[in-house]
């Protein structure tokens, strides 16, 4: 029974990371009607930005002079700024030019954008401090010179706590973010405008909503959210690789589709479902670890074929 609880815990944790990426997908899809495929890469970029900033701050001695919490908050702000800027860049170069073309063009261009982000990370990221060995707690000098090697994520979340405490913190933060998002979407004027755009773009234009401004704000908020998810991802995984983004993108997209692309809460359900399938397959089926992703994808395909509108999501009839 211990094994079950352990698996349940890691399933929820994995689900949290998928969920945040998937919520990003459904946020962007809601206002833009396009799949922004580089969400995963933006999240990874966020965690790398935090790592880089950590290294810079550590070498500048800020961690000694300022309280730890302030430093972590500062790192989060830096990551959020980077990701928000990246969200804007993505919007400007890979979504805005394709507003009037076929729906698959933005998909292709955002995939290309994701590759650009990934490659820039791989080429340019050169941490000054050897963070892998410190993250793993060992003293051995594992030299990391290029971003193409896995990078150790610094222990920023509950550095003195146990693993369980850290995990619970990750879950709590995820729930907190989702709650904030819920409040934002349903209680503020801006969030309501986002929902209005998601439901009917022309009508919201007519009612005087500044659609282009709301879109930009969505990308800012999405970027910030993805930065936080990158942070949580790093804290959970401890080791980050520059090319994790494509896999997280695919998983997040799958989760959003399984849940219902337009529905933010569907993304939560889809992310959890995928994570549970993956974790329990690798836990209970012999040699299942290597097949976990494959089984998850099979589940996605089954969903797409038999319930394309997702778990939560109304069926839409095709307009002619």
């Amino acid at each position: 029974m211990d094994m079950f609880w352990g698996l349940l815990m890691s399933a929820i944790l994995l689900g949290c990371t998928y969920t945040l990426v998937a919520v990003g997908f459904s946020l962007f899809f809601g206002v833009m009607d396009v799949v922004v495929f580089c969400c995963g890469d933006i999240a990874i970029f966020g965690s790398f930005a935090i790592m880089g900033a950590y290294v810079a701050m550590k070498s500048a001695g800020l961690f000694d002079s300022l309280p730890f919490v302030v430093c972590v908050a500062l790192l989060l702000v830096i990551g959020a700024v980077f990701c928000a800027a990246l969200g804007l860049v993505t919007y400007r170069f890979s979504i805005k030019p394709f507003q009037n073309s076929s729906e698959l063009m933005p998909l292709l261009s955002t995939i290309a954008m994701g590759t650009i982000i990934k490659e820039i990370l791989g080429l340019l990221f050169k941490p000054a401090v050897n963070t892998v060995s410190t993250a793993l707690g060992g003293e051995s000098a594992l030299s990391v010179v290029s971003g193409r090697n896995p990078q150790g994520f610094p222990a920023l979340l509950m550095p003195n706590g146990t693993v369980t405490e850290r995990n619970i913190t990750i879950i709590v933060i995820t729930i907190l973010i989702l709650a904030l998002l819920f409040l934002f979407l349903n209680r503020t004027k801006m969030g309501l405008s986002m929902q209005a755009i998601s439901q009917n773009k022309e009508l919201s234009l007519m009612t005087g909503i500044n659609v282009s401004r709301i879109i930009i704000i969505t990308f800012l908020i999405g970027g910030i959210m993805l930065a936080i998810s990158g942070f949580l991802l790093g804290s959970y995984q401890k080791l980050m690789s520059f090319d994790d983004g494509a896999m997280y993108g695919a998983k997040g997209f799958s989760a959003a589709v399984v849940g219902g692309l337009r529905n933010t809460w569907g993304a939560v359900a889809g992310g959890m479902l995928l994570a549970f399938v993956e974790v329990f397959v690798s836990g209970y089926i012999p040699r299942g670890t290597s097949y976990a992703s494959i089984v998850a994808f099979v589940v996605v395909v089954i969903f797409i074929v038999f319930k394309p509108e997702g778990i939560i999501g109304e069926k839409t009839a095709e307009k002619v």
């Binding site: 073309s101 395909v301 394309p308």
Partner: protein, 403 residues
């Protein structure tokens, strides 16, 4: 419509000269050191864009169609001349073979992405299925490579059918997600199957041979030592010619029209009596066949298959090739595959940046010229079938994209 009659005598030498220029440029791109070669690629791209704007590409196509016998014959000689000229340059021949194989895969992808507007993110997986079938048949079972190639075609066509089935109920993003899932799962699967080598792949794939005459072997003729690629290059060139011909025939056939119709409006296609499921499945199966042929030839060329050759990144490269060349135009796709292969291979010294270059290129093409270098054209049935127009009105042409 210049010079329809009475210029036949001058048109024939013109056709031959154009062929020599085109294939000469291709040869120079392969042969020159990378700086000049890339400069040439840039010049050709700019020239193509200018010619396209001035209508010169159209004029060239109609010239070729009018003098098709001369054009085909001289093109054949030029194509045969390239391996002869490259016969002592091993690496350049290798690039040429790779370009031909990539062109095959891109033609396969074009059926889905270009004609039917279903973006398939798994061409590399289809190619991998073909290559692995070839490897398993020749190495693990030990049959002739020809049988291996047949198996490769059958398995990748079957994979196309399997992937095609869910697509009957889905479209757009959902369809893309299905193919993406296939691509990611394929790599995971072969990495985790020890029986087919796992992450180490399979080495020692046999080369093709015709009656004991191996196509991939260094022969010496009249004291000149040929590269091992010499006969393989000719073999692949013939295979590609057949595949381009078939693709072109399908393009002008009713199936090609039906696929375009589905791309434009599926409901309208349904109303017009197009058998939509059948056409979609057809696009996937024929695409699978093309990728399977490419994969089998690839496995035989490198004599090694491994999971890292058929990743998602490779699929993106194929997509980039198709978009660069021009969607839904077999000639354009071939040109795109050739140009991009040459660019990649000539930039070997900077292979760290290859992915970045592809991605930037893809974004730039999508923004600047989404229709590609040689976009698809209105089907000119009168020219193709050699019938004179009775009236100046346009023939029953396929739906043309005007964007």
């Amino acid at each position: 419509m210049t010079g329809r009659n009475g210029r036949g005598l001058r048109e024939k030498p013109m056709t031959i000269i154009f062929n020599i220029v085109i294939f000469g440029l291709a040869f120079l791109m392969l042969r020159l050191p990378y700086r000049y070669s890339l400069a040439l690629v840039a010049i050709v791209v700019v020239a193509l864009l200018r010619m396209e704007r001035k209508g010169a590409v159209d004029a060239l196509f109609s010239l070729y169609i009018r003098n098709r016998r001369v054009a085909a014959f001289s093109a054949l000689i030029c194509i045969l001349a390239i391996p002869v000229l490259l016969s002592t340059f091993r690496y350049q021949s290798h690039i040429a073979v790779m370009a031909l194989i990539y062109a095959m895969v891109c033609l396969g992808l074009n059926f889905q992405m270009g004609s039917t507007n279903m973006v398939n993110f798994a061409p590399a997986a289809f190619m991998g299925i073909g290559a692995y079938s070839m490897a398993v048949m020749t190495v693990k079972i030990g049959v002739s490579p020809w049988l291996g190639m047949l198996t490769a075609i059958l398995t990748s066509a079957f994979a196309g059918l399997l992937i095609g089935l869910p697509t009957l109920r889905t479209k757009g993003y959902y369809l893309s997600l299905v193919t993406m899932a296939l691509q990611l799962a394929f790599v995971q699967l072969i990495k985790n199957m020890p029986s087919i080598g796992g992450p180490n792949g399979i080495s020692g794939v046999k080369a093709f041979s015709i009656g004991g005459f191996s196509l991939y072997k260094a022969y010496t003729f009249f004291g000149v030592k040929l590269t091992p690629h010499f006969f393989y290059l000719i073999f692949c060139a013939f295979a590609l010619i057949i595949l381009v011909y078939v693709a072109q025939r399908i393009y002008i056939s009713r199936y090609g029209l039906a696929l375009n119709n589905i791309a434009q409006d599926e409901i309208a296609a349904n109303c017009l009596g197009v058998d939509v499921p059948r056409c979609k499945l057809f696009a996937f199966v024929i695409g699978g066949v093309y990728c399977g042929v490419g994969g089998a030839l690839y496995a035989s060329l490198t004599s090694f298959v491994g999971p890292n050759d058929f990743t998602f990144a490779r699929s993106l490269v194929f997509i980039c090739m198709v978009i660069l060349g021009g969607m839904d135009n077999p000639i354009g796709v071939t040109v795109g595959a050739f140009l991009l292969t040459v660019i990649t291979e000539k930039l070997r010294n900077f292979s760290d940046y290859a992915q970045l270059i592809y991605a930037v290129l893809l974004v730039v093409i999508l923004i600047v010229r989404p229709s590609g270098l040689i976009p698809k054209r209105v089907r000119d049935y009168c020219a193709v079938f050699g019938r004179e127009l009775l009236s100046p009105s346009r023939p029953d042409a396929g739906p043309a994209d005007k964007d």
